[in-house]
Subunit: 218 residues, 2 copies
């Protein structure tokens, strides 16, 4: 609860970073590029490593002239940083959650995203994350409750009974979540998301040809 004070403070410090003009590389001590080549008894050596390493870590911003990225193709992002769910979206997600959904697979996420897209901008990853977070937080909420009730510091005799029951419920939920039931889960959370299923345009029937993925649970 009140433990989140600390970093709040520390937070600000990391921000500076004004340093080094352009590059802005900062941390990440210059990677030890020590190439191996030498040996390279294999054909691999011909691989263009450089091109890969380059764009790494962070927003490059080459060029001294820090042109705000307002160049024009700022990409929709204007102010829209993170997904801000609408009431309808939350409603549907919670409904699905209560319905038992916990870790939807790619196909399901696709469908859900399409549906929720009717009520506001949203991407597949938002759905994915929502379930992850909601599940985790429901879990810790329960844990907190159970602990608080099982050994409630003060005297509260009558509660004991309830406690029992609560625990039961907890166990159920806990199972529901079934940690590691894995088995053909289907990560395949690969999307083409940036599309973000445009805001509210009624793109009603999009063929969804996008996900041939592992259609089945593989």
């Amino acid at each position: 609860m009140g433990n989140m004070k600390v970093h709040q403070l520390a937070r600000g410090f990391w921000e500076h970073e004004p340093s080094l003009s352009l590059g802005c590389k900062r941390l990440r001590p210059l990677a030890p590029k020590l190439q191996q080549h030498t040996s390279s008894t294999d054909t691999v050596s011909s691989f263009d490593l450089k091109s890969f390493i380059r764009p790494e870590s962070g927003p490059r911003k080459l060029g001294p002239s820090d042109q705000k990225r307002d160049s024009s193709q700022v990409e929709t992002h204007p102010g829209g940083m993170r997904w801000n769910p609408t009431q309808e979206q939350i409603g549907i997600l919670e409904m699905l959650y209560r319905g038992g959904m916990r870790t939807p697979n790619a196909q399901q996420i696709e469908k859900i995203t399409a549906q929720l897209g009717k009520y506001g901008k949203i991407e597949g990853k938002n759905v994915f994350y929502w379930f992850q977070n909601h599940k985790a937080r429901e879990r810790q909420k329960m844990k907190r409750n159970s602990l608080g009730l099982t050994n409630c510091p003060r005297n509260s005799p009558p509660i004991s009974t309830i406690t029992l029951e609560t625990r039961m419920e907890i166990m159920e939920r806990s199972d529901e979540d079934s940690p590691y039931k894995r088995k053909c889960k289907s990560w395949s959370f690969q999307y083409l998301d940036e599309q973000s299923i445009s805001p509210c345009k009624e793109q009603e029937n999009r063929t969804l040809e996008l996900f041939p993925l592992h259609p089945e649970g593989r």
Copy 2:
């Protein structure tokens, strides 16, 4: 542990929820969200929950008649379950790792995957996972070493010197990994992977138009 048998049953009940009043709680807030949508206020009810819930949560086994879903669309998975990297692929990946790469972004993964695809079947997620695992395991390996050496249980005087040196190296690497430097990371791990960039076909120059994603650091 073995408590997960009962509620399995309870699952189905949640299905009703016809009205769902999407209102839901959402404790804290309560205000506002006022979507500019206007519409809403209900439409949600028309959501076809059923279709979503269905395929959920793992290997259900509903009902007595357990019809294996082996209907036939077992998907390519035949026997090839997990990615089995070739020597060349491993070589390149390690090279990149030594080069400093730790958590490649979508674009990088795409490029890497394309390259590695020349030496054998591979998907973007394989690359993603490889870096995750390699980073984590290098880390724990170091930790194990440092601990094991600093207080080596048995007597081993001569080793001490070496220990020092090893530690040095460790520190460096450790920093390299820099836990949580975040800042515009770029999740965007969305792919269209299943394609798995065919085995060894020489799809040399693929425009990679696939990732408009968050081109910049958001």
